[in-house]
């Protein structure tokens, strides 16, 4: 049996990323936070954007900025988001989410999106 001692530290960034990843699985969540210039240049979405976690030894609290997809009831999306994040944080970090404040800062309408480019014609019949 090992008698090694040590401490494991969690950065807020890691907790934000785990919660951000959980949020992506929730139906009705378009994105978290606003798209900043760096995100646009990268062409992707930062996984911890719009998240502010306060991490303790046993507990975590979140403040989240959310943009919902139009058509989904806002409160239902927020509730599902809260559940998804709590579950994931509990599973991966063994910490309880004691507070999760969600601010809906925008609504995304599907017709706002640019149409997807046409698929190239197949090269073989």
């Amino acid at each position: 049996m090992s008698d090694m001692k040590g401490k494991t530290f969690l950065t807020n960034e890691v907790v934000n990323q785990i919660a951000g990843f959980a949020a992506r699985t929730v139906s009705g969540v378009h994105r978290l936070g606003k798209a900043n210039l760096i995100d646009r240049i990268k062409g992707g979405k930062a996984m911890d954007a719009g998240m502010k976690a306060e991490v303790g030894a046993e507990e975590v609290a979140f403040d989240i900025d959310l943009i919902v997809t139009y058509g989904h009831p806002v409160q239902e999306v927020a509730e599902n988001l809260r559940i998804a994040i709590s579950t994931q944080v509990k599973t991966m970090l063994a910490r309880n989410v004691v507070e999760c404040n969600i601010n809906v800062i925008g609504v995304h309408f599907e017709d706002d999106e640019e149409p997807a480019p046409e698929a190239p014609a197949p090269r073989v019949k």
Binding site: F62, D65, P73, V74, Q75, A78, R82, I102, N103
Partner: protein, 195 residues
Amino acid sequence: MNLITRLAAALFALLGLAASLVTISLVTGGLPPERLSALDALVGRIHSLPTLGTQAVLGVVAGAGVVLILSLLILYLQVTRRRGEGPMYLLREDSLGTFRIRKDAIAAIARHVGGEISGVEEVICTAAQNESGDLVLTCRLQLRPVVDLVAAGRRFQETVKATVEEKTGLSVAQVDLETGYVRRRAAREGRRVVN
């Protein structure tokens, strides 16, 4: 971004703005160096600028111009309101925290729903709360000329109220309308529209 950071950025932008304007004025001869005698210790080197060659002057002006534009941009970003910083309405509060929604998001839902109603050409909506905490939506409509204004207005109110309540869970007390007809498009397409 908190208030102190924003103020610091605005101050930095103002300094950049002033420095670039002074530099441009000096090298183009708009501001005589003697006027800056009080700042000799700080900007003594600037006195030699008017003796620079044309290309060097152009370079300095271009550099100062870039600083000027960046300063104006920073200032604009600090002065204008950001997404996510507007007033929030409380949707729910429990032991695990709060759900809030921005006023603009509610207005966007109303605008989207209203814009899909037959006969409605353009919509602008704002959201506010009355004393009892219920939502009051104020919308400005542009209708197609062949539409019955009263009927379209009623349809708009009912649809927007029902949808906003369903999507947000907030209670909509009023949907106030300011309606008008689209003028310019009337001649072109008004007669073709059937509602």
